[in-house]
Amino acid sequence: MNARYRPLMATTLIFIVAYALCVSQYPGMWSTRVLGNFLTDNAFLGVAAVGATFVIISGGIDLSVGAVIGLTGVVTAILITRLGLHPLVVFPLVLALAALFGAVMGAVIHFLRVPPFIVTLAGMFLARGLASVLTQDSIPIDHEFYRTVSSLYIKLPGGGRLSAIGLTMLAVFAIFGLVAHKTRFGSYVYAIGGNPVSAALMGVPTGRTTVAIYALSSFLGGLSGIIYSLYTSAGYPLAAVGIELDSIAAVVIGGTLLTGGYGFIFGTLIGVMLQGLVQTFIVFDGTLSSWWTKIAIGFLLFMFILLQNLVFNRQNGPAHLRKGPA
C-alpha cells in the first residue's frame, strides 16, 4: 500500500478501536440515535474543518473561521428578521460576502507577505467585532423556512435522526474531497504546501490559488455559520468561539500535517468524529467535574496524537532528518 495512506489508516483504526471501547463501557452509545447526533451536532464543525484542511494543506492557518461563523449568523438573522428577506435569497448573499472576506485575507497574505497566523487573527478580531457592533444580543430567527429545514430529517430505525444539516456536512466532505484530490486546484493547494517557491517556478498560479484557498475557507465558514443558525435558529455574535482551534485539532488528528503538503479531507471527517466521540463519552460518563472534563479532553487528544505518531513514525529516524512525510 502507498505509504501516504498510512496516517489515514491509523486515524481510522484508532477511531474504530476508540468507539468500540466506548461502546463496551456504555452500550447505549451504539445506537442510531447517537450516530445520528454525531452528524447533526458536529455538522458546523465538520464544514468549517473542511476549509481548515485546505488552508493547512497549503501550509497556512485560518484563525478567523469561528468569527466568520458568528458574523454570518448575525448577518443572516438581521437580513431575515429585520429586512424580511427570504433565507434562500440571504444565503447566497452571505456566502458571497464570506468568500470575499476570505479573499481579502488571502490577498494580504500573498501579496503583502504577512503571515497567515496574523492576518487571520486580525480577521478574527474584525469579524467578531463587526458582529458585536451589529448586535450584542442573540437574534432569534423565526421563519417558516427555518422551521422546515431544521426539522427535516430521515428517521432511522431505533429513534435516530439523519438530519438535513448532517447530510449537508457529508455532502461538503464528498464534494471537497473531490476538489482536493481530483482537481487541478486541489493539486495546486498541495503544491503550495509542499514548497511555494518551487510551485511558483513550476508555473502554479500561487497568488490566485492562495486567494482562492482563504476565500474557500471563509466560504465554508459562512456555510458553517448558516448551518449553525439553522441548528440554533438564531444569530449570535459569540457563536462558535474557539471553534478554530477545534477544527485545527480535527484536521491534525485526521492526519494532515500542520507544516503543509500532506493531508486528506476524509481524515478530517474522522478527526471531527473523534472529537464528537470524546464529548459524547464524557456526557455518558457524567461524573467528571468541569476541570476533569478539560483534563480528559487534553489527555485524549494527547493519546490520539501519540498513537498516530507511534503507528506511522516508528521505522524511520527522527522527523527532521527525513525528507518525506512525517
Binding site: P115, F117, F125, A249, V252, T293, K294, I305, P318, A326
Partner: protein
C-alpha cells in the same frame, strides 16, 4: 554595531509605538500625564508598561520558541496553573520562597512536558502545546477547585502591585527578565544556536548541535516565563482565578513576537523587540479604555491597528514602494 543599534531607534516597532501613543494622546489628552503619588509613578503611560508586563514576559519566553519554528499555545493555561499553585501554597501558610519555587517549578515542568513532546516525540508544536492548553486550565481548576483562591500575603501581593524606584513591580520584573534573557542569548552561543535550528533543523543536527536539549530548554524557559506572568497576574488581583487568568493571552504573546519582527517560520529573533511588540499591544488596549468608545468596537479597533502595523512592516510593501519609486525618475533614489 553602533550604527545598527542606533537604527533600532527608527525600527518599524518604534514608529508603530509612537503612532499608537500619538493616537491615544489625541483621543485622551491626559495620556502622557505622569504624577508622583505615594512613592510611585502614576499615569496612563505607567499603566501601559504595568499592564503590558505579563504579555511582555510571555513574549520573552515565546520569542526563542517561535525562532525555532515552534509555538507555545499553552502559556495562558500555564499562567493559570502557576497562579493556582502560588495561591494554594501561600494560603496553606508556606513562606514566599517556597511558594514561588513551587509555582515556578510546576510551570517549568509544564514547559518541559511540551518540550519533551516536541523534541523527543517529534510532535508538531501547535498540537503538542494544544494538549496542555486544554488540559492545563483544567489542572489549574483542579488545584483551586473552580473557585478564586484569594490570599493576603503582602510579600506575594507586592510582586503584582508593589513598586520599585517608582516603577510598578511587574514592569521591573519584565525589564529585568528581558535584559537577562537578551544578554544570556547574545553573550552565550544560545542565540546563534536558536537561530540555526530555526533556520534549518536538519543542518543543525548535521553540524553537531544539541537540537533536542536546546529545544527542551527553550520550552522550559517558556514555561518559566509563563509561571512568572501567572504569579504576577495572581498577585495583581490577590487571588488565583483559574478560569480567566491568562485566557487567550497566548495569542497576544504570539502577536507581540510577530510585531517584534520574529518570523513564525523561525530564524532571526530579538527579545527586546518582542517586548516592544507587547507594549504596542497594551498601548492600544489602554488607548481603547481611556478613549471612551463603546466596548463593542474594541475588537474592530484592534484588528485595524494590527493590520496597519503589520502591513507597514511587511517587507513586500517596501519592495512595492521601492519599485514604484525607481520607475518614477523624479522619486528619490532608495539605497
Amino acid at each position: 554595531m553602533r550604527a545598527q543599534s542606533l537604527s533600532h531607534l527608527f525600527s518599524h516597532q518604534v514608529i508603530a509605538l509612537a503612532g499608537v501613543l500619538l493616537i491615544n494622546w489625541m483621543v485622551f489628552p491626559g495620556f502622557f500625564d505622569v504624577t508622583w503619588k505615594d512613592g510611585r509613578l502614576f499615569g496612563s503611560l505607567i499603566d501601559v508598561i504595568n499592564r503590558g508586563a505579563p504579555v511582555a514576559i510571555l513574549a520573552i519566553g515565546m520569542t526563542p520558541i517561535i525562532a525555532t519554528r515552534g509555538v507555545d499555545l499553552s502559556v495562558g493555561a500555564v499562567m493559570a496553573v502557576a497562579g493556582a499553585v502560588a495561591a494554594t501554597f501561600t494560603v496553606a501558610g508556606h513562606p514566599l520562597v517556597v511558594t514561588l519555587a513551587a509555582a515556578l517549578a510546576v510551570a517549568i515542568a509544564c514547559g518541559l512536558w511540551n518540550g519533551l513532546l516536541i523534541a523527543f516525540l517529534g510532535i508538531q508544536p501547535f498540537v503538542a502545546t494544544l494538549v496542555l492548553m486544554v488540559a492545563g486550565r483544567g489542572l489549574a481548576q483542579l488545584i483551586t477547585e473552580g473557585s478564586i483562591v484569594t490570599f493576603s500575603d503582602p510579600a506575594l501581593i507586592f510582586i503584582g502591585t508593589g513598586s520599585l524606584l517608582g516603577l510598578p513591580m511587574p514592569a521591573v520584573i519584565a525589564l529585568l527578565l528581558m535584559l537577562g534573557a537578551h544578554l544570556f542569548v547574545r553573550r552565550t552561543a544560545m542565540g546563534l544556536f536558536i537561530e540555526a535550528i530555526g533556520t534549518n533543523r536538519s543542518a543543525a543536527t548535521y553540524t553537531g548541535l544539541r537540537s533536542r536539549s536546546l529545544i527542551l530548554a527553550i520550552y522550559a524557559f517558556g514555561g518559566f516565563c509563563a509561571g512568572v506572568a501567572g504569579i504576577i497576574a495572581a498577585a495583581d488581583i490577590r487571588g488565583a482565578d483559574a478560569n480567566n487568568a491568562g485566557l487567550w493571552l497566548e495569542l497576544d504573546a504570539i502577536l507581540a513576537v510577530v510585531i517584534g519582527g520574529t518570523s513564525l517560520l523561525g530564524g532571526r529573533f530579538s527579545i527586546p523587540l518582542s517586548v516592544l511588540g507587547a507594549i504596542i499591544i497594551q498601548a492600544m488596549n489602554t488607548g481603547i479604555l481611556v478613549s471612551g468608545f463603546p466596548p463593542e468596537f474594541n475588537l474592530i479597533v484592534k484588528a485595524g491597528v494590527i493590520m496597519i502595523i503589520l502591513i507597514l512592516q511587511s517587507a513586500r510593501l517596501g519592495e512595492i514602494v521601492a519599485a514604484i519609486r525607481t520607475k518614477n525618475p523624479l522619486g528619490r533614489k532608495t539605497p
